[in-house]
């Protein structure tokens, strides 16, 4: 799964100004909190809102999961990553280092 693989990246680069924001799309609060706790995830975890306030589909047009956007210090969306398999984090790390 993607999220636990992001934890080491977060810990390694947070002091250089790297932030992770994970948004749970389906408001499955019970399983989400259990998963977060079991995997010791310490970055920002948010839950999608309901109906008109939901942002995952309406703003970000995300239909497939897991999907990630990498945003630079000026707020520009510089990279998109769909899916997550073993080894993908190495490529992601390169992108993060380039932007930091």
């Amino acid at each position: 799964m993607e999220l636990p693989r992001l934890q080491p990246l977060y810990e390694q680069y947070k002091d250089q100004g790297f932030e992770v924001i994970a948004i749970e799309a389906k408001r499955d609060t019970e399983r989400a909190t259990k998963f977060i706790e079991e995997n010791g995830l310490t970055y920002t975890m948010l839950e999608n809102a309901e109906d008109d306030a939901e942002i995952v589909g309406s703003i970000f047009k995300v239909r497939s999961f897991p999907s990630s956007f990498l945003i630079d210090r000026d707020g520009k969306v510089m990279y998109f990553h769909l899916g997550f398999e073993a080894g993908d984090e190495e490529h992601l790390e390169e992108e993060i280092k380039t932007l930091l």
Partner: protein, 338 residues
């Protein structure tokens, strides 16, 4: 790429079907299914997941879960454990024992998905037609067929099913596919547009490979007119990858670089555009010098500023995106628990 998405949907389905199965009187297969769903949540490794699905299939080859269990075997044994032959050897005898046309289609498609590494004596067109003789295929089934056909370079099959998919890319059909969900008109229109653009883009690529360049470029232009775009402002279909590759094939390197550049700039979306962009760039300039700069420049040119939003964290605090990300490099990850 689509495989990874499929498996997530599938795992969600395992949970859902499990919840339903417990309500009524249960057959041995249903009891075993409930146990499988229960056990599934505790499994960690691909080996464990493949083994669980395999033991279910060995005992109950012909159930409504045959297709999804074959999917689990193909994904975990075939891909994660890199043993496609082993996955095939499990799934092929299951296929022989299935009567239900729905499950035969599902399992048959799983077998064919292994065809790039294993000898599969099964025709894609036949698998599709045998379900088609039973009932009309849905958009998603046509899509599964045309995507597979493109992978296998079976252009006529891809052409047939992308055109058939276009026929059923309607709001009515979309609603019928998701009877339990409600869609606003705007949302529905967007989803239907995406289906139309996808079918047109794939048909363009099939048509191009069948030798009708003019019609292929008409299809690409039509897909572009439908205009289904992602958050990054580029098509959320493989349109630019196919269009760019066709332009590359015609020796139009500038168009190829333009189309493929937009697709490749933003990284791994599964399109594989970067390989072809590199080829187009080298063909135009004689070598690859300056390629990375081109990617970076394209990215800077096309990149848009992220939208702000406010959501709750799990302690009930309102967190604003702008506050967290200001001055930082931020990874925004969308997920759900499976």
């Amino acid at each position: 790429m689509s495989r990874r998405i499929t498996i997530l949907a599938l795992v969600a389905l395992v949970g859902l079907a499990g919840a339903c199965a417990r309500q009524e009187q249960e057959s041995p297969a249903e009891v075993a299914w409930s146990e499988l769903v229960e056990a599934w949540n505790g499994l960690e490794t691909a080996e464990e997941k493949a083994a669980l699905a395999e033991s279910y299939l060995a005992e109950f080859p012909d159930t409504e879960h045959s297709g999804s269990m074959a999917g689990v075997v193909v994904y975990y044994r075939g891909h994660e454990m890199e043993d496609p032959q082993g996955a095939y050897d499990v799934v092929a005898p299951v296929f022989e024992q299935i009567e239900d046309p729905e499950q035969r289609f599902a399992v048959g498609m799983e077998m064919i998905s292994l065809a790039d590494s294993v000898e599969v004596p099964l025709e894609l067109a036949e698998v599709a037609n045998s379900l088609g003789a039973h009932r009309p295929l849905t958009y998603s089934e046509h899509q599964q067929v045309f995507e597979t056909a493109i992978d296998l370079e079976e252009w006529m099959v891809a052409d047939e099913h992308s055109l058939a998919a276009l026929e059923v890319a309607t709001p009515e059909a979309y609603r019928a596919d998701y009877p339990d969900r409600e869609f606003s008109d705007e949302d529905l229109a967007e989803r239907v547009q995406r289906r139309q653009a996808t079918a047109l883009a794939y048909d363009g690529w099939a048509t191009y490979n069948m030798g009708d360049t003019e019609l292929a470029f008409e299809r690409f232009a039509a897909a572009d007119d439908v205009g289904s775009v992602s958050y990054l402002g580029v098509p959320n279909t493989p349109l630019y990858t196919f269009w760019g590759r066709a332009a590359l094939g015609e020796g139009d390197f500038d168009s190829a670089i333009e189309f493929l550049g937009a697709e490749a700039a933003f990284g791994n979306d599964g399109s594989g555009a970067e390989v072809y962009l590199r080829e187009a760039y080298a063909a135009k300039n004689g070598d690859e010098e300056g390629f990375d700069e081109l990617l970076w420049a394209t990215r800077n040119e096309l990149a848009t500023t992220v939208d702000d939003f406010t959501l709750l964290d799990y302690e009930g605090n309102e967190i604003s995106m702008a506050n967290v990300r200001t001055g930082k490099v931020t990874l925004l990850a969308f997920w759900f628990p499976t």
